[in-house]
């Protein structure tokens, strides 16, 4: 059964320097509050994993939490680039950032393999692209029945996966609905998991399209209302598009970013 705890305690206990950490949420239910708590607790040398690193990873990278990023698309959706991410890759500031780059199909299948207890996954992917030449975790594999050549990618098994969901009950059973992305696989692939939720309730009413993660595969649950802001939580609040717009200016400028860090995270 998952422990119901606070965000600060959960991050202190579950996220360690040097860990491989996945924060997932595909546009919807992005665990932003948890990412900022990791910044607040000054974690270092993390290998960050995420299909779509966006603002929260730009913040964590800019704050110097990460030494490596495993991803498939890094941007500020509908706005432009992640300037902290770009500066880390292009100028190595505040610390150099190693990258391991895949496609969405590859990343999704790496989580699936991780969740399935398999060392690798097979897909039709990367053929003809330059990705295979710059990413060592992409290899050919041959079908033992047809002889056809396909692509293999290794399983992702984060030390800890963090997601945000709408609800959990007091036993730590987690319920999310709307666009549920790759979160189930990311949690099942991880050694430890933290789920921040909009609210802890007595009973989870069944709902159309809901994905339920039983409490016995979740390590910790923390109630964090609006924990996905500026992304959205279906049924709770809308996406804060102005925040995404405003982030561009903050992210472009080191001083502006550091002022933001000081003002919005550390105080």
């Amino acid at each position: 059964m998952a422990t119901i705890t606070t965000l600060a305690d959960a991050v202190a206990e579950l996220v360690h320097d040097g860990d491989t950490v996945a924060l997932e949420g595909f546009t919807h239910l992005i665990p932003v509050a948890a990412g900022q708590e990791i910044i607040r607790q000054r974690r270092r040398d993390l290998t960050l994993v995420r299909m779509t690193p966006d603002i929260v990873y730009d913040q964590m990278i800019g704050a110097g939490c990460a030494r490596k990023l495993i991803f498939s698309w890094g941007g500020n959706p509908g706005v432009g680039s992640l300037h902290r991410f770009r500066e880390a890759v292009q100028q190595g500031w505040p610390v150099p950032l190693e990258i391991e780059e895949h496609s969405h199909a590859g990343m999704a299948n790496r989580y699936v393999a991780g969740a399935s207890g398999l060392p690798f996954a097979v897909l039709r992917g990367y053929t003809g692209t330059d990705l295979a030449s710059v990413t060592s975790t992409i290899k050919p594999i041959t079908c033992p029945f047809t002889g056809e050549q396909l692509t293999a990618v290794p399983a992702l098994n984060p030390d800890v996966t963090i997601i945000h969901a709408q609800r959990a009950d007091r036993a730590g059973n987690v319920q999310m609905w709307g666009i549920t992305g790759v979160q189930k696989e990311a949690v099942l692939a991880a050694k430890r998991s933290l789920v921040t939720v909009e609210e802890v309730v007595d009973t989870l009413e069944p709902r159309p399209g809901a994905v339920v993660l039983p409490g016995w595969v979740v390590t910790a649950v923390a109630e964090v209302p609006r924990g996905a802001h500026p992304s959205y939580a279906h049924g709770y609040y809308e996406r804060d598009n102005a925040y995404y717009q405003a982030w561009d200016a903050i992210s472009r400028d080191r001083q502006a970013f550091e002022a933001w860090l000081k003002g919005s995270v550390f105080e």
């Binding site: 595909f26 199909a105 999704a108 299948n109 897909l123 003809g128 990705l131 992305g181 790759v182 996406r239």
Partner: protein, 251 residues
Amino acid sequence: MSLNYTADEMMSVAASRALRAGSSCFVGIGLPSTAANLARRTHAPDLVLVYESGTLGAKPDRLPLSIGDGVLAETADAVIGVPEVFNYWLQPGRIDVGFLGAAQLDRFGNINTTVIGGDYADPKVRLPGAGGAPEIATSCREVFVVVRQSRRTFVEKVDFITSVGHGRGKGDRERLGLPGAGPVLVITDLGVLRPDPETSELTLTELHPGVELEQVREATGWELKVSPELSRSPEPTEHELTVLRALKEAR
């Protein structure tokens, strides 16, 4: 009489017209999403929109602001996980049209959205990366690229092949064993390009109204081939423009 419209509006209209009624379309955000939603509201009401966030048959009443916009889940026939989108729906070739953008596009329709300049380890510009594009480009039956045309974007050879088009020319896709036909249409703000049947080189086949051939040549980073049957795209209809503008305002 001629209507007032922007080059971007013409591009969206041309892209939407290319989508056949009754087909399915894997939609990226931005221009592709605008064109696909315009098509659904004009000539292709039964167009099936698939977004990589896991919404099958989404029917948004406004332009989604992201590929994971809540309106997509609310209006979809089915909402599925992201691994399923790629494994059960895209990979087997169930989707007719993949709609892609590009930061760089070369004469054979190869797409770069990864890095520009320098080398991969130390690029001049770090772009967002692949996302779903590499597999969209290989697995959809056809690929349409929608992109504003300029020398910066239309280059002789892309700095990095993120998503393969026709490789180094005719026959490369077959040699690579890629199931889909690849980029069969490139729709820009100036006109429309199609791969030459003999060489697979992108060739100008349509000019948008009021655009001169010279403008397109200047906006192309290679010596542009022009189809002998070069035609003019029909102007946007009043209806298309009304629907398009309503869509944009509904944001």
